[in-house]
Symmetry: C2
Subunit: 355 residues, 2 copies
């Protein structure tokens, strides 16, 4: 092997030749001394907070004062683990934070359970944990409890992380797919498809060099700003797997409304559009991890759009469509040449292992 | 192949020759139509409840009235998936229920995230989900939100399930490893090592036929009965990975107390003892999934033991030791012939993939 050639493991450049002591072994999942040492040396320093450090079987917190809470979970199995703009650690925090935030909840506490593959270089885990800390700080959440298991080599794939989260819903907030109303407008917080195409490019599945970075980000701050600006928000969603097309067909089905999109205004960055065209993908079906769809009253449109554009994660927000009484349960697209076509939910698999 | 010979997959007898339609494919993890169909046909019927059926990004529930809540998570990767006395579905509910219950919490809501391997026969998933329902009913909890991802063949192992749970802690309850006091007595709710040895036997790693069933059970009902009987409970723990030895060394460390065990009274079923002796295992280090350790005041001992023995999951409860001021941070064993030996935490791996 060429000495100059860096060794890349799970998308990260390996800092040095690895020894047995630098890798995860089955004993790290024993629940005994080796597990305790891994937790103390590798997990605690980046994720440190008083609740986590109690080291009990569960974290205990004060019940928030509001009357309603939200609770959700996500499993993360992205491959490769590291890619431009993000990694499995950042994804595991943002995925759960965003699921809470689009329900109108303020994310508070997260748990994280790890399934590690025997032989995983520990520096890869350390980098993922650093990303979790950064993302948790951005989102204002804390990881308060966790678990680690180790599967034999070839029975997992590096790192899988499942996170769960709880958040408090401030009084008066009520959003949901069923609440879309005729005349409501459909907003999106920026260009589509960055995450899915960034992961694909990182796998070397594009035949050309593309400068595509994932958009992974915690949307809770943007969403708080939107609620402060207006009480006309009916639906919030993060269009992840299946993309905007699948998300909007779900909303159309839940609300028994039609949704009409304007093809000409749907934002897609140039390198994403080029990569999609070459591979025969439609950016409407490609996953996003830092974008949201908002369906708001026509009266609220200006205030909500202004609040979105004033936030770093919503600068490129635009209106892409409208809710209609006609065509209940269906999403239609007004094409550039004046035609109309039906937008279906994603049917099979397009890009496996993107989140 | 002999036509009479049943095909066993992940510990279950396969009911019929499987076709492509009977197995998990990557499209089931797409987030699109196939994912929706899998959720509607396979996940919803066994786990059905109003919160789950909303199908939103997160479940919303009323904040419980008590001032404190507990929140925890566990990843489950047991192999084989089905074994005498339990399976990954039952384990995934009981593991999280028990982590909440030993913190003094009444378990309320759970989330479940699934990582499925491409090619998994769907009947295996269906059986695991039925077990989850049964265990959730026994424990009085509901699975209110979930997520499903699919990894390529050879990048996972059948089914991994991560569960997270929240529970409410009734006012006045305060338990924890740091609260053990000199003179307190150490109780265990029944014979040790059933779970670990049942999984090992199911892997065919014993050279003889052993009638060992896992003890997997939700301990929340037993624990409620104990709190009703007495307010002298200082510590509760479920001795899972690493067994009673590892659990007690943790408590000794957290409380800066010594613990002295009486070897002669430690309960172990005959087939478990025989299997351990043959393989050179110590039952004190073998995992349990339906047993608890309680450390209680000497005044509370009689009431707590009576309450435990009156409960179906605690009939064989006994006192196995005492907390001492001497030997802080250490666990000692009084042997049958009158000697004393130090009990250490589990150091390396003994039985991988048991939970």
């Amino acid at each position: 092997m060429n000495e100059e050639e860096p060794v890349v493991i799970h998308g990260l450049v390996c800092p040095r030749p690895l020894t047995h002591d630098d890798t995860i072994v089955l004993g790290h999942g024993s629940g005994g001394r080796m597990t305790q040492e891994l937790i103390a040396r590798t997990f605690y320093p980046p994720l440190e907070n008083p609740l986590l450090l109690r080291g009990d079987d569960a974290a205990i917190f004060e019940t928030p004062p509001s009357g309603r809470m939200a609770f959700c979970t996500d499993a993360h199995i992205v491959s490769p683990l590291f890619f431009p703009g993000g990694d499995i650690g950042r994804l595991s925090i943002c995925g759960t934070v965003n699921d809470l935030a689009v329900m109108g909840a303020r994310p508070l506490w997260l748990t994280a359970s790890f399934i590690l593959e025997e032989g995983l270089p520990i520096f890869v885990l350390e980098e993922a944990l650093k990303s979790m800390r950064t993302a948790a700080e951005e989102a204002g959440v804390k990881v308060v409890a966790g678990d680690t298991k180790v599967a034999e080599r070839g029975k997992a794939d590096g790192i899988f992380i499942s996170t769960a989260g709880v958040g408090m819903i401030p009084d008066g907030r009520e959003v949901g797919g069923r609440l879309a109303r005729p005349g409501d407008v459909v907003l999106v917080s920026g260009p589509l498809g960055d995450h899915g195409m960034a992961v694909l490019a990182a796998r070397g599945e594009l035949s050309f060099e593309a400068e595509i970075r994932s958009d992974i980000a915690p949307l809770s701050g943007l969403i708080e700003a939107m609620f402060e600006a207006s009480d006309g928000i009916h639906v919030l969603r993060d269009p992840t797997r299946g993309g905007v097309a699948t998300t909007l067909t779900e909303i159309a089905r839940q609300s028994h409304m039609g949704i009409v999109l304007e093809e000409a205004v749907i934002p897609v960055r140039e390198p994403v559009a080029a990569a999609c065209e070459m591979l025969g993908f439609d950016p409407l079906y490609v996953a996003n991890e830092g974008k949201l769809i908002a369906i708001v009253t026509p009266e609220a449109e200006a205030d909500v759009l202004a609040a979105m554009r004033a936030h770093p994660l919503g600068r490129e927000s635009v209106r892409i469509g409208q809710v209609t009484e006609e065509n209940p349960g269906r999403v239609l697209m007004k094409t550039g040449i004046g035609g109309m076509r039906v937008v279906e939910a994603l049917s099979g698999e397009m890009l496996p292992r993107i989140c």
